[in-house]
Symmetry: D2
Subunit: 368 residues, 4 copies
């Protein structure tokens, strides 16, 4: 496959540029019989969509998804589901001035070397606008996982620039524009973002995604381990530079006695593994963290070169997120849902014969 | 694919258990005309193989690789290359006592849930012994990349438990059993490992892998970005719990002005991106870091359950690496080589028409 | 992949039902820099589209294709090309009466067993209407193959029910509604079809597709041989029941001395191989034939069962092609184009290093 | 994938040349818990192996298969199964004289153009010797399909050169070296082959393969239809030039009323569809026919060119099958088994939720 498809049995292929006519995707392999409407997908799209707070880009997109196929009389039919979202608020002339420049930290330079041409309007294909389709596709997976298997996938912002959180209150996440689960840190984040906007700068963020109630047995060793596929999926999100499963980089300084999650009949005593051993889910919560770099589009000028190799100075105007990490939570959830859905189906394909012969150890009470 | 294959055009499929007759793999898609001998592959296998120092497992395996096909009169023919390594030093009775137990932090529990059976001897398929075949397969990719494209891939240990390094001297790496590039830290590491062995405990480690002289343009957006595929490849290595590209998790607290790698006609002014923008290589050094958890097999007893759900206490005897990270450097190099080789071929397949029309910016002098 | 994607490097994924809102596809992997407009694709769509003669279904569809992405300033950018065709002439109530019946020779029964539900309007996903997207996608491949490599792909009807052709005049094909290359047989075909329509019956057909000027070396042994992939592609067309490459079934009674295509420096002396040896193109014309079954929708009643297992009698009203083979020529061309394009790219990916060291034998003058 | 892998969930990757050290394959995705021994696979290998009658090549190979992994205590574990067969009766010097020649109808010329080099000993990778591994791999699929699902796959020779059969007696097939189900035709075939050997010529053959007791619902529209995948699988067998499903090319002259298989509650009234509608199995017997070309290696001289482009005359000595079709029956069975196994698993992966709500129509009594 040429890179725009993710998944083996449950897979999604996306198309579309930031300032093209429309974005779209095909979700192939969805089991039949799932009730599905556009409203089901709109929820997460609305969580991701721009222009909903002063801390994200002011581009206003309705991000209204349309189901073109694969659903009949309100239920999926097992055939491919075609989805589109029209682009409505394009201001392509905002970009004419960058036609011949390579913006630092953007994909301009690498796309130009790869393809020899590029759709420079708003980053073209490299724009995070493409992730709208992932959220839509992930919404289908999320719905199936929740309704049929009771799996719940949810994420939050765990760090905004220098500001870390102290607690996780799942109910707080929807109450603020940062997806922050610690209500006490929200004012600090607001102040930080205001100062950042004034400065014309941007900042990075860290997101945590958790899947609860995942059955043991998902993941295909050796190369398609659940953690490896999650790493693939999450690293494919624009601006992500780091991935952790469970203890992540903390495990470097841990001793074996500390890291290993001891087991009792009543439950695992910890979850440093992040719910995955040997690349296969254990039934504990799956926990992944991602690092997102600061937005590359800045009002503050930076040094670069143009397509002819001349030294230039670039500063980006137009409308941009000062912290791309803020809107990344639903995207990360969607990618985790796509991975779990695909692995649920793959595992069922190979191992449906397996009779449950071993005890299922209860998951550790969550503590993230 | 069922999980034991990696790569699209240049791909490797492995088989084999820790205590089976043999390990093996098939490398499919290798370009014809590459000079290749078993000695070429043996070099890295010897770097990875156990029993070469007192800081790794005392299991002694010759790890002698055999080329069964795909090479004729000393050159690859473009047909699949079959490789095998016989297992010679198996002491399977070491494991009979764990037949009915789930060792904490091992894949015993998750494999049992997935497959209903498991080859419990030495971890079976979940043993890191499988990585020998990746090193062999990666050796083919490494050779092609170096000889035809001048790409050099090399790694080192950047942290052993609490001990970090202060400098990277590439020439030192081969002079100590830790793959440590900082000669001044080697005595400290030796002392640490001796104490650890005495204690019967294990510890984590951090590895850095670098690819130099990579041409711009490798990587297939959206999902098969070069960084996403690297994350997949590296996370598929046993015991890995975290991945960073370039600045990695440091980017969370970075501002845009700090993170963005400014460009001048003479070169990029930094390499926080780790050589990848928009999922495509920029021509700068590709830099990835991985976190490896402490070995799960410990002499120190831990709580667990058996296959019947009874509470038990487990301590592992037999021969084990006290720090699996130590031998991971050649494995990480191999995985990076497999990714780059595949993407070189995929890019050539799609984009061989593209004429180089833009300036190639020199890579930043390395500083890791 | 879940079955709606074809190709590895150059691939197409389709969606859409006969009576849904729209059909669509994503073409991923198209090399950048190809001039491409909707008109380029419309040509073949118009050749395939219904309602253009009295010998095809009277359903009238504009089959107007829309390019939603992947083309910028008139040229492909290397990113995925999203295409859609709206369904305009749906008369879904024509089908309400078949909701609970399994029409003989249709996919009703098998879809119902597979998915438990089906979009019964016009065959839903199993309708040949889906092939419109293949023709659109194949049009991109055809254009690249012709402009960059000089490869020409063309097909014709070689048999209509009992009527065979005696000669192949490429220029005649476009002059009659049957894609018949033998002008002398056209009146006979017209009479036959009129009688068939009157009878309310349908009939089978045979199509030949040829690719000229294909370079030697395309095709990936062992399983992805060029002939095997062509067989896959052509058999995936609705109603196809047989495939031949070159001599096809005639080779059963041939002796080795008769079948083998002897070679001289001036050219091959025959082309029983159909341009493929060992699964790899030889540079001779690639020749494939396909058998298409008679349309399953008939006015003449037939015995069947309903979804409750009761015996019923079915006769299909609505608008149908009396011979689906007639419109199959552009579809077969499109599928051959998709196969050749993908294999051209795959071969270039693996074997671009290979220097042409052997003589290229001229292709045999065509005789089909 | 680079062409040496077949299947998505249950897949096989093969390696090995005719005169290399060994052939081998990896079967990935086999469900755990299947009893499996080398003897299970040896049965079909012995049916295929050379040197068992005077009508096949006199090369003597034990074709003894070795299971290297994936089986523990007599049962599959769900991990990849590594298989090898050593080459023992190589007479490579038989081939030194063809090093620089392109034998007509062989893959010499096309391999040389593709790869620039070739292992000329016995055809190297293009030799039908490779199919031994397919038979071994197919044996695993066959065993699962039979034991778990009751599916039986069997084939026979339906035509040898000009000699067709009049009846199918399944019990006769094993009683003669031709896999001929019509005992009355065996003497004629013997005489024909003797004369052919004397003449130094070869001839084509036709094989039929049937799968009985296949559940409805297997096959993935649009591109991975069961018939399309069967066509792919069967056309990938060396020397195959034609494929038919059910009525095959006979459907061209059939009318709709004749071709359509009418349905009654007691069963389908015919099986022109060959057990597949809309690319999905119907529960009727799956019936496929293949045409195999005459062996290309002949004692009778033919015109060709050498690698320098000079006109030469070639006659092949060494040991060869005068009719490659004779030994093809177990190979065709194996390929059909691989397709059905993969599709059984893929269907289970996507559609295990589907409750059987429609009547299962009994299969037509077989008549081939």
């Amino acid at each position: 496959m040429s890179g725009n498809t993710f998944g083996k049995l449950f897979n999604v292929t996306t198309f579309g540029e930031s300032h093209g006519l429309a974005l779209g995707c095909i979700v192939d392999g969805c089991p039949p019989g799932l009730e599905l409407s556009e409203e089901d997908l709109q929820q997460d799209l609305d969580r991701r969509k721009p222009g909903t707070s002063r801390y994200t880009t002011q581009r206003r997109e309705a991000d209204q998804v349309k189901i073109l196929s694969g659903v009949f009389e309100g239920k999926t039919t097992g055939t491919p589901i075609g989805l589109t979202i029209e682009n409505t608020d394009q201001r392509s002339k905002d970009y004419s001035n960058i036609k011949d420049t390579f913006r630092p930290a953007h994909a301009d330079y690498s796309y130009m070397h790869k393809y020899g041409v590029r759709d420079y309007r708003g980053g073209g294909r490299s724009s995070a606008r493409e992730t709208a389709m992932r959220v839509a596709a992930g919404g289908i997976a999320k719905k199936y996982l929740k309704e049929r298997l009771g799996i719940e996938i949810k994420g939050y912002l765990s760090q905004l620039g220098p500001i870390t959180i102290d607690k996780v209150d799942w109910d707080e996440i929807r109450n603020n524009p940062f997806f922050c689960p610690d209500v006490d840190k929200v004012p600090e984040m607001e102040d930080y973002m205001k100062a950042l906007n004034k400065e014309g700068n941007s900042v990075g963020a860290k997101i945590v995604v958790v899947a609860q109630n995942v059955p043991p047995g998902l993941g295909e060793p050796i190369f398609d381990r659940l953690d490896a596929e999650l790493a693939h999926a999450l690293m494919s999100i624009n601006a992500v530079k780091g991935i952790e499963i469970g203890a992540g980089f903390d495990c470097v300084a841990q001793k074996g006695t500390e890291h290993r999650d001891e087991i009792t009949p009543e439950g695992f005593l910890s979850n440093h593994a992040g719910g995955i051993l040997g690349g296969i889910s254990t039934g504990q919560d799956i926990v992944a963290s991602i690092a997102l770099k600061p937005t590359s589009s800045l009002h503050l000028p930076g040094r670069s070169v143009d397509v002819h190799g001349n030294a230039i100075e670039v500063s980006t105007h137009g409308r941009h997120d000062p912290c791309v990490g803020i809107r990344a939570t639903p995207i990360a959830e969607a990618m985790m849902a796509l991975v779990l859905m695909d692995h649920f189906m793959r595992n069922r394909g190979q191992n449906a014969d397996v009779e449950p012969i071993t005890p299922v150890i209860p998951a550790t009470p969550a503590s993230y």
